[in-house]
Amino acid sequence: MVNGDVGSIVGWLVAIIALSFVMQELQVYRAITEVENYLGILRAARDRALSALREQFRRYRESDSEADLDKRIYRLVEVKLIPPTDLDPYGIVKKLKHILMVGEESIEREVSLAAPKAAAHEVKNLVVMAEIARALNEVYKQLNHYYLIARRFKSLWLLMQLNAVMPFIMEEVRAIEGAVEAFRKALPIGDSAGPLVATFLMRKYGVEHFFEPAKDTVVAKVTAKGKDLYVVKAKGPGGTTGHYDDAVEWVFQRAKPSVIVTVDAALKYEGEPSGIVAHGYGVAIGGVGVEKYGIEEVASRHSVPLYAVLIKMSESEALSIMTEEIYRGVREAVSIVEEIIEKAPEGSTILLIGVGNTVGVPQ
């Protein structure tokens, strides 16, 4: 109790100041513990992805040295793609596309050498699995870097910021990790909704001609409801997304489509049901934007309207094995595309692009 004497007041003041320091230390300790827990989960996710990749590589190799395999996996996981400089943005899309193509081809070659017994589509799945491991490794290393700096300087604010963003990062990690099983078993994922719609249409109306005008991309000429339909999708069943812009350019060199329809997976908001189908205008395609730019360029040059059919899903559903709700969405999207074809003028040509990773979805 404060009795009013100076000694007692000073004693209380000292106690309060000391307590505030202790409280801050406790807060720092609490933030450190929480961030460490999250980092532990991230490290475990990364290690699981790495061991799944190692297991998968072993299936396609002669039983030779483990050290050689580890060295190759390390190289694949630590690879970096350096984007072009944007000091002068003129022609940046072309440069970016060149870098992406070089990276893609080199990684595929590297994977083929590490897994000589793998078929072409299995190589694609291994490439995606390596990308998953690389993404998880990158996230873990970055966060660990910030954590160690925050800890070295005992910065509560840095730790608090790190702690605040962790739930969002964990959501993304959960999404990425969900893809491992799908690519190992070569099963369609949520993002395969677009290619699956394309395949359903190809099979329903029967393919007249098949072309492969661009790397990992197929174009099928189909007659649907009395109209010419060009269906573009990535070449399955390996895990690849293809090069739609080159395929679209190729189609326009041979035909005059009056409408371009893109079917793709779209992110839903929290609370929205999965698998619902939405309509839109424009090019429904994700990624860095190179292909979107290419398709928009062709469409505007020929004044062709762009329609989009979107199948809604969460980020983790997009990367995990396809769910029944999304499959229902795919069937609904097929009907919607058929309606668009029906409404198109007689004698017109329609170009349909099934956008997404085509893992587990053949032609």
Binding site: I41, M170, L187, T323
Partner: protein, 127 residues
Amino acid sequence: MSSLERPQPRRWVPTYAVLLLSLVAISAALVILYLRTGSETYLSGALLLAIVAVYTGWSFARLLTVKVVPRSLSTYLRCPSCGYESMREYREGDRLFGEAEQCLKCGGRMVVEGIFLRSASKSQRTV
């Protein structure tokens, strides 16, 4: 299912149960001691522990209400000849648009038209 989605909180059920029972038992013992001795120290201790017990019980109740919806990998089959549809559990080797077992209706080859995750409660429904 992603391994991060595993129902990890269920691991804590025994710990919570033991903690809650201990807190209730000690609180009850302190109340008995207060009634016998009349010492308020026991009552204060009992009240403090009762607060902790309520918080533990509330956390325990939240833990028990966590619902994990089990999902299984299913294969959806369709006969191209007669249109007969069926659904079964996914088997190793099933691939989209690949041929599967014989059709129960017409004896033709069924085709895999879908492979997807579905919740166990829907197992009797068809697409």
